[in-house]
Amino acid sequence: MTERSVTHGDFTVERMYPVPPARVFAAWSDPAIKRRWFGSPEENNPEHIFEFRVGGREYNEGKVGDDTYVFDVRYYDIVPDTRIVYAYEMHLNGKRISVSVAAVEFKPDGHGTHLIVTEHGAFLDGLDNVAQREAGTQYLMDKLGEVMKQQGTS
C-alpha cells in the first residue's frame, strides 16, 4: 500500500548577467535558444511541446539512467522581458511525484540583468524508491556522525 504524504519546500536561485533583460528573456521564450541551456524542447522530438504564451503548455520527457522523467508545464503569467510564472507537475516512471509553482523575474541592473528563479513545490508520497531512501538515510547518518564527532561523543 502506498504511504501517502506531502512535503512542501521552496528555493530561490539567482544570477547576474551582463546583458539587458530582453536578451535573457529571449533565452526563455525562443525555443532555439532555450534548448541550448535548458535541454529542451528537443528539436526533432514530436513528444515535446513548447507553447510559450499564457495558457500554453510545455511538455518534455527524458531518461536519466533507467528512470523516465516527465515535466508538464502550464504558463500562467508572462510579462515580456519582466516575468514568467508557471506551474508544473513532475512524473517519475509514470507516477506523479510533485506539483510546483515557479516564478522567473528579469530585473534590470545597470546594463545587465538580475535573474531570480523561485520555486515552491509539493513533493508527493515520498516515492517507493529503495535506492533513494537508502541514500537519504545514509546522508542523515553521515550528518549525525559529523555532529557527534564535533560534540566529542562516539
Binding site: 504524504s5 519546500g9 536578451r23 511525484i97 528563479v117 546522508y139 542523515l140
Partner: protein
C-alpha cells in the same frame, strides 16, 4: 515547509542535545513507546516529551498514539528524500543558469 537551510538548522539544533542524540540512537534500533524511551534517563516524563517535540518538529521523529500508548519512530526517510528532491531541483537550476550565462556571453550572439 522545507527550506534547505532552515531544515538543516533545525536538525542540528535537535541533535545538539546529548539526550536527544541518545533518543535518536534508541529509535534507530526500532520504534519505542514514550515510557520505554524515558526509562534509561533520570528525567521526568514531561521532560522527555519536550525533547520528543523538538525531534518531531524537525522531522526526525514521528509519533502515533494507539489507545494510551504513544509510539515513536525514527522518520528519516520522508525528510531526507524531500530534501534531496529540492536539492536536485535547485542544483538543476544552478547548472542550467550557468549554461545560460555561457550562451549569453558568446560573442556575436546578440540578435537584431
Amino acid at each position: 515547509m522545507l527550506n534547505q537551510e532552515a531544515t538543516l538548522d533545525q536538525m542540528f539544533h535537535a541533535l545538539a542535545d546529548p539526550t536527544r542524540r541518545r533518543i535518536v540512537e534508541r529509535l534507530s534500533r526500532g520504534p519505542a513507546s514514550v515510557s520505554e524511551i524515558a526509562r534509561p534517563f533520570d528525567m521526568s516524563l514531561p521532560a522527555v516529551v519536550q525533547h520528543l517535540h523538538v525531534l518531531e518538529h524537525c522531522g526526525l521523529v514521528s509519533t502515533r498514539k494507539v489507545g494510551r500508548v504513544r509510539t515513536c519512530t525514527l522518520d528519516t526517510q520522508a525528510l531526507t528524500l524531500a530534501e534531496q528532491w529540492i536539492n536536485e531541483r535547485r542544483l538543476g537550476w544552478q547548472r542550467r543558469l550557468d549554461r545560460l550565462g555561457d550562451i549569453l556571453a558568446e560573442p556575436g550572439s546578440e540578435r537584431p
